[in-house]
Symmetry: C2
Subunit: 295 residues, 2 copies
């Protein structure tokens, strides 16, 4: 009999907890609003207590302390979300479960879920996952493992070219103004055009501009990491017209510099929506749990 | 007795070949101008034939085909260097040596050399090496291995903010104009200021602008890869006044976003010159040879 794994995806507005053996074998799942940390984590703990789990994967929002040598390992660091700064996610679970507990950022879990569960991704040397929604974040799998490094990637905050004449919008990022997230997250689209992003028609010029910014960012990703696949998820990417626009702009901007046949193709297999749909994060948390155990 | 390894660093103007056991035990070394491929590679082969080697590491300039499944594996791809497009470096050596042969880009070898030979780098999860000179290139070591991915990183060509009012220079890159390399390589400095970069005094405004562009690029690196150390080598970086300027501008541009104590420090241990000086490439090629063998 295969073992049971738990996964928790902790977002800024809701938490999802699931128990199962894989994407096609989820035996229980629950979701509840993100309240204060004690209440929220208690709900998650109570859910997992009902099952004989082999391991749990925890994937909360960030920023997080992911340095195993740090006293704050497994805690949220400074966040504007009231009450959550320094919330000790891993500590809470450690005090309740004598189980292997894996922890990483929600976006890293999503990247790992896409890599771990999908046959077309399993052999890749590298895969980068971007979530583009209220915030923008990135997770990278390189050589089979999530990239952490100094802290963890914060791919939303790279600087990209900003043509002020074409787009005088100053950006939404409180730290950097017109960084990638500042120019291209959901709130930026809404502020720039004066209406919610999801209410703009598919042929609105907003999407062409959005695709330009996303393509700028992906160019930096391609030049710095040379990933074998780029997955784009999140609320903004629910606009399917963005994908062909982004692929075309990436190709134009690379301008033939990278000698890979990928860039002479339609790139439909290179810049892709998540194969797990909106479930990359929760299934990724479960993958982290399964992958944690000694083989 | 320890084994002997060969290393070849093949640059656009000269080749360096060395034989030894490590940085402190080089038993022979030769250098010769980069002529046409046949002549140049014959000289390298003849040098290595004189020694009882356990393996050879080859680190030519790029771009290269580094896909082991490709027919062109180990060849230079399209290059402006006359005669070198499609030059089959690995094939030439395979026909002459029945030895393990490792091959990678010169800049990847430099990154690996810094990682492999220096005790302060050996435990790192990630290290990024930039060479900033006539060209700009990057090599990354993540989870102990060189990052290749789709082709290999081409970190010189990321887009960075370009304030046209402050710097109306259009850039030197034939593919992208004002990408990082186009704005910040040695020829860009020379063209912008009308004299060779190395002839500009240390307090010339050229260096402040150069540091700004390098800091923009390093910000993208820090956000996308979160490396534990960044090494800056190459001709332009022989200007020591650049290091404190770059560190200060990186800190300012991050603006406190990354919660690592590194960015509250002087960053003298984070953004560093190569510990192996100008020998990162040749010693890196030798490290690739040594690392190739089964442990």
């Amino acid at each position: 009999m295969h073992k049971l794994y738990g996964g928790m995806e902790g977002g800024g507005t809701k938490f999802v907890c699931a128990v199962g053996r894989g994407p096609d074998e989820i035996i229980a799942e629950t979701r509840f609003p993100t309240a204060m940390p004690d209440e929220t984590l208690d709900q998650a703990v109570a859910f997992f207590k009902k099952y004989p789990l082999a391991a749990i994967g925890l994937a909360p929002f960030g920023p997080m302390d992911l340095n195993p040598a740090s006293l704050g390992y497994g805690s949220i660091t400074a966040t504007p979300k009231p009450g959550w700064s320094n919330a000790d996610i891993l500590g809470r679970f450690r005090s309740q479960f004598d189980l292997p507990l894996a922890i990483d950022l929600d976006v890293a879990a999503a990247a790992f879920g896409e890599f771990f569960w999908l046959p077309e991704n399993q052999g890749l040397e590298s895969l980068v996952y971007f979530t583009i929604g209220t915030g923008i974040g990135a997770g990278s799998i390189i050589h089979g493992k999530v990239v952490h490094g100094l802290t963890h990637p914060e791919g939303g905050h790279i600087r990209i070219p900003h043509d002020w004449k074409k787009d005088p919008f100053t950006g939404t990022c409180p730290f950097h103004g017109d960084c990638f997230e500042g120019l291209a997250n959901g709130p930026a689209i809404a502020k720039r055009w004066g209406q919610p992003a999801e209410s703009l028609p598919a042929d609105h010029p907003a999407w062409e501009l959005e695709a330009t910014y996303i393509a700028h960012a992906l160019n930096s990703v391609i030049y710095l990491i040379s990933p074998q696949r780029i997955v784009l998820g999140g609320g903004v990417m629910q606009q399917p017209q963005l994908f062909p626009l982004i692929r075309q702009k990436v190709r134009e901007e690379l301008n033939g510099y990278i000698p890979s046949p990928v860039f002479n193709s339609t790139m439909e297999g290179y810049i892709v929506p998540p194969g797990l749909g909106k479930r990359s994060g929760i299934l990724g948390a479960m993958a982290m749990a399964k992958n944690f155990l000694p083989l």
